[in-house]
Symmetry: D2
Subunit: 261 residues, 4 copies
C-alpha cells in the first residue's frame, strides 16, 4: 500500500516516527552511560510514493540498539549514524535525520567545600544524512541565573535575581569531535554564577557573592555563551537562546543570537 502512487503528488520533507522511547547505552571516553531518550527518526518521501514503511524505521532503531549492547559504541551520534546507515538498506531516501533528546548527568564539585554533586542537563543530539553526507546538531540546556545590572545600579547594590536557562546549539560536520560537557561549560561560564544541586552554607555564600560580582542581563548571558563557544569550537554554526524567568514579572525575557566560526 505504501509503495502505491498517492492521489495527491507532493514531495514530503520529513516523514517518520516521533516520541519513541527506548534504552540506549554508550561508552564515552571510558565511562558507561544509560539513556532512555525520546527519539525522532524521519526521512523524505518522493511524490510518487504514498507512504513510508514506519515499522522499518523502528526496526532500524531497535536492531541497532541490540547490536550496541555487544559493540558498545562510543556516543549517541555514533549510534544515530549507524541507525541511518541501516535505514539505507531498507528504504530509499535523499534526506534522513534522527534526534535523541535525553538528560546527561555530570558529576561536579561544589565551589568551596568541594563536595561531589550530580548535575543534570537536557541534551539533544541529531545526525542528518543528505545524499550520503553526514552532519550533526548538538544542543545543551543549562540552568543558571541572571542578575539585573540596571536595578543594581539604581538601588545601591540591591537588585532582582532569577533562574535563567541557557540553550547552546552547534551545527557541524559529523566528523568534528565536540564534547557535550564542553558545550555545557560554555553556557555555565556565561551566567553570573553556576547553580548546584547541593550547596553547603559556605558554598551558598560563594554563589551569592559571585552573583553580585557579575550582574548580567539576559543579553549579556547570550553574548557570553556565543563568545565562549566561538573561542572553543571551529567550523561550526552556533545558535544561542537564553530565557530569564523574571522574579519581578509574570513573563519571561529572552535573548537569541547566532554566528558561524
Amino acid at each position: 500500500m505504501q509503495d502505491k502512487k498517492p492521489e495527491i503528488m507532493e514531495r514530503l520533507g520529513r516523514v517518520g516516527v516521533t516520541g519513541l522511547k527506548t534504552i540506549v547505552m554508550t561508552n564515552w571516553k571510558g565511562r558507561r552511560y544509560n539513556f532512555v531518550p525520546e527519539i525522532e527518526l524521519t526521512l523524505d518521501l518522493d511524490k510518487e510514493r504514498k507512504g513510508v514503511h514506519m515499522s522499518r524505521l523502528v526496526e532500524s532503531i531497535t536492531e541497532c540498539i541490540e547490536e550496541e549492547v555487544e559493540i558498545r559504541h562510543g556516543s549517541l551520534e555514533e549510534i544515530e549514524k549507524n541507525i541511518l546507515e541501516k535505514l539505507k538498506g531498507k528504504h530509499s531516501f535523499n534526506h534522513a535525520e534522527i534526534t535523541m533528546k535525553t538528560e546527561l548527568v555530570v558529576p561536579k564539585k561544589t565551589p568551596v567545600t568541594g563536595k561531589t554533586t550530580m548535575e543534570t542537563y537536557g541534551v539533544e543530539v541529531t545526525v542528518s544524512s543528505d545524499k550520503g553526507v553526514y552532519t550533526k546538531r548538538l544542543l545543551v540546556e543549562v540552568f543558571g541565573n541572571t542578575v539585573c545590572p540596571h536595578a543594581m545600579n539604581k538601588c545601591e547594590g540591591k537588585t532582582h535575581i532569577q533562574r535563567a536557562i541557557g540553550i547552546l546549539e552547534i551545527e557541524t560536520d559529523y566528523g568534528n569531535e565536540i564534547d557535550l560537557e564542553d558545550m555545557i561549560e560554555c553556557v555555565e561560564d556565561a551566567f553570573p554564577s553556576r547553580v548546584y544541586t547541593i550547596l553547603k552554607a559556605e558554598d551558598e555564600k560563594q554563589v551569592v557573592r559571585e552573583m553580585y560580582e557579575n550582574p548580567r542581563f539576559v543579553e549579556d548571558v547570550t553574548r557570553g555563551i556565543l563568545n565562549n563557544a566561538k573561542k572553543r569550537f571551529k567550523n561550526v554554526k552556533i545558535r544561542v537562546k537564553t530565557i530569564s524567568e523574571e522574579s519581578i514579572h509574570r513573563h519571561n525575557v529572552i535573548a537569541e543570537g547566532s554566528c558561524r566560526v
Copy 2:
C-alpha cells in the same frame, strides 16, 4: 448499550469528559468577562450500568452556555451549578462535579507611578453536587517571589531571589460568597513583593526595595497565605502550596499547608 449491565460490576466514582474547551461569558459585579475555560464534567456510575451517555454531558454544558448568552449569569460557579442542574434531568447520579480552569485578567496599578497594568492569574472553579447538596472549590495561582533570609543574614544583606508561585485553594458551601480577587490578594500579600507586567524605573526600584525589606522562605510565604486566608474567609477549608524556582539550584523547593476555619 450504555444502559446494559457491564461484565465487571464495579461502581465508578468519576466518569465523564475532560479537556473540553468552549466560550463562557459572565457578568460579575457589573463587569463582563469572556473565558475559554478547559472544562471537566464527571459523575458517578453505579455498578449495574455499563456506561455514561457522554454526549448528554456535553449537551448540558452547551445548552447552558447558550442560555447564558441571554441570561448573563454572574459567575463561573453559577453557570456550573446550572449545568449540574440540567444534568439531573438527563442522567441519574449521586455525585457530580464540574471544573472550569481558565485565566482571570485583573487591572492593577503599579506601586509608584500608578500606571494601569493588566495582571493574569490561573484560576479553577469547581462545583460539586453530592446527593443534591452543592459545595464548591476555588483555586488561584499567583506569581511572586522568595528572598532567602538565611543567605541575607550570612552574606551581609546580599541574598538569592527567585520567582515563586503561590496556590490557594478554598473549599466551602456553594452559598458562601468568595471573590477570586480576594483570594489573589491573600497570596500576593504573602510574598516579599508583588510582581507586575509593566514596571517603570521608579516602580522597579520600589519592588526591589520591598524584596530586601521582606526576605521570606517558601515556608514563610505558605504560612502568610494561610494566615491571610484565615483572617479573610469563614467556614472554609484552606489548602496552600508555594513553589520556589530556586536561582541557585536546578530543582525547586515547596511548602504546603492546610487548615479549616
Copy 3:
C-alpha cells in the same frame, strides 16, 4: 545602563519579552472576539548596545491594547502591526516581530442533526517588520484523525484509527488577506472525517462512516492540507505538519511538507 557599550560586542537577532498574557479584543467582520493570548515581542539589538529597554516593549503592547478598546481594530494582525509601529518611536531596530498565540472558538453545525457546536482551534498570528517591510505568519492547529488504509486492506475492512493534529502555517505579505477560518477548513477537509465537540447518535454514525470511506495515512493528510492550501491561497509560503497519535503504538507518526504558491 542598557544604552552602554557591552563587554562582548555581538549583534543579537531577537531580544524581548515572552509568555506575556493580557486581554486583546477584536472586531473581525462584524463579530467581536476576546482573547487572552500569550505574547512574544522581540527586536534585534546591535552590537554596540548592552540591552533592550524591556519595559518599553511592554508599554507598546499595553498602550496599543488600551487604544484598541476604543478603536476596535479588526484583527490580531492589525493590533500587532500597531504595536510594532508604536515601538518604532521608542526603540531603534532593523527587525522586530510579535506573535500572539491563542485559541479561536468557531461555531459549527453537526453533520446530520445540524446542532450548533462550538469548536476550539489553536492559532498563532505573527507580524514581522524588516527595515519597515511588514510580513505575517499565520498558524492553525486542528484536531482530526487518521485511518490506516494499509491495515484496512489487510484486515478485511477493519483498521486502526486515532486522533491526529494537523498544523498549517502560512507566510505572506502583511496585506494579503487570509482568514484563519479558511485555513482551518483546509486542514479539516484533509482528514478522514472532521471531529466535533457534540455528536448525537446519528452524527456519530455519519462520522464513523466517513472515517471508513476515507482511510488516510498521516502522509495523505499532510498532502491533502498542502493541496487545499495551494488551491485556496496565492503568494504564500505553506508549511504543514500532521501528527498521528497511534492507537497501536506508544509513539506518534508525523509527516511534514512545504511549498510556495
Copy 4:
C-alpha cells in the same frame, strides 16, 4: 535561621525539594537498572520552627545514592526507605515522604512474529514514614486503546478507536512485595489490545483483530484494571484512572474508580 521561631505559627504538612534529578541504580531480581528519576522529598514542619534545612534533604539523597553504587540495593523503594532513614539523623519530623518518578523499559515479544520489542512505561514509587511506620504507593502509566462498543453496534461493525492511557495506583504496607511489571500487566490486559513499539505486518493484523473482538468503553477498561488488580494483589488500596483521547472529539473522556482488598 531555619531553627528560629517563625512570625506566623502554623504547622506545615509538606516542606521540601521537588524536581530534583539524579542517577539511581538498582539491581531488581538479578537485572540492573539505571534511572534518572525526578525526585520529591518532603517532611512536615512544626509550627515552632521557621524553616527546613533544605540542603540536608538533598544530602540524604546524594549520600544514599553514592552508597547504593557499592551496595546495589534491589529497588527504588529500598533506596527511598534508606533515604528516609538517613534523614532521621539530620532532621526531626513526624511525617516524611519521597517520590521518584521515572520510566521503566521492559522487553516484550510481539504477538505473532515474536520479535523482541522494548516497551516504556511511566512509573512513580513513593515511600512514606509516619511516626516511623513505613507505607508505599506505586503507580504505573500504560498506553493502550479504547474501541467504542456503542458505535460498533450502530454502524455494522465499524467503530471509532483511539489511544488511551491507563493509570493504576496501589497503596500498601512497605513490606508487601509488589512488582511494577505485574501492575503493568493488570492494565495491559484490560485494554481491547496491547500496543507495541514494533509491529510487523502479521502482528499488526493480530492487534487490529483483537481490537474489534474486544470493543470497550473507557468505563470498561477502568473496571477491568480494578478487577485485575483485585485478583492479583492483597491488602492494598487500588485507584484507577483511564483517559481516552477520542478520535471523533477534541476532548478526552475519563473513568476513575477505587477499591480496597
